[in-house]
């Protein structure tokens, strides 16, 4: 595989060329492209628009609980937050799995790596949902 001629590799589907199967490859691209847009919104809304308010002392800091809680009154902010949480966790942890595959993980090793990363992702997702929900109180 490693010695495969360049021309033969070019004939392969993109996922196979990188030693991946279709769905992880496809979802990595979809979540990646979506994260570009979601993160742009995240940075503008959470970290850019409140700079002036922090400068003028309207906010007593850059990240303030009551200010975040206000944003959660908009349903769209929930959608963006949950999409960010799930997409970023999948994209990051699937990326780590891709590195493991590059270093030769397959079969039982790949299963163990994938299982461990899935557990980390699931735990972080559940904790993240609780963290977001706390802003409602």
């Amino acid at each position: 595989m490693a010695q495969m001629a360049l021309q033969d590799r070019a004939q392969q589907a993109p996922a196979a060329r990188m030693g991946m199967t279709f769905w992880p490859w496809f979802l990595q691209r979809v979540t990646g492209a979506a994260l570009v847009v979601l993160l742009l919104i995240h940075f503008i809304v959470n970290h850019y628009l409140n700079i002036t308010e922090a400068e003028q002392g309207i906010l007593h800091g850059l990240v303030v609980f009551s200010n975040v809680a206000e944003r959660f009154e908009t349903p769209g902010y929930w959608i963006i937050s949950i999409l960010l949480l799930s997409f970023s966790l999948f994209h990051g942890l699937n990326g780590i799995r891709n590195i493991a595959i590059d270093y030769g993980a397959k079969g039982a090793v790949d299963k163990a790596v994938t299982g461990a990363l899935s557990l980390v992702g699931l735990a972080a997702f559940v904790f993240g949902i609780f963290a977001l929900a706390a802003f409602l109180d």
Binding site: G19, G32, I51, E55, L62, V63, L85, G92, I96, A131
Partner: protein, 123 residues
């Protein structure tokens, strides 16, 4: 298929494509570690408003603001270079791969400098 890291270095000098591949991988691992940290830090919301504001105010110092700007730069590079890689999956733009790497790099540097300028009054 990718070769292991040391084999990559031995096989060829550090050309633009190799540098881009390496930076994408390092930035990806870094951002994932940051992401988990970020979820834990913001997760302090479960401890209530006062505890949350108390903790988050420690990050309003110039040192952390510059780190934040650096983080945004790293994320911007990973995002722009990621879009470049998606194009390559569909064999689009391969002829301009070096130029597109430097474009991604410039966007990242621009975002870093722009962010530092944006928060300058908070220093």
């Amino acid at each position: 298929m990718y070769k292991p890291l040391d084999a990559q270095f031995q096989a060829r000098a550090m050309r633009t494509g190799t540098v881009a591949w390496l930076l994408q991988r390092l930035s990806g691992v870094f951002i994932t570690v940051y992401l988990i940290t970020h979820i834990i830090v913001i997760g302090n919301s479960v401890r209530g408003e006062d505890a949350f504001d108390d903790l988050l105010s420690t990050f309003d110092k110039p040192f952390f603001l510059v780190l934040d700007a650096g983080l945004l730069g790293v994320v911007a590079f990973h995002a722009m270079n990621g879009l470049r890689l998606i194009l390559f999956d569909f064999t689009v733009g391969l002829r301009y791969q070096k130029m597109m790497f430097w474009a991604a790099f410039l966007v990242a540097v621009g975002m870093f400098i722009g962010s530092v300028i944006a928060v300058r009054n908070l220093f």
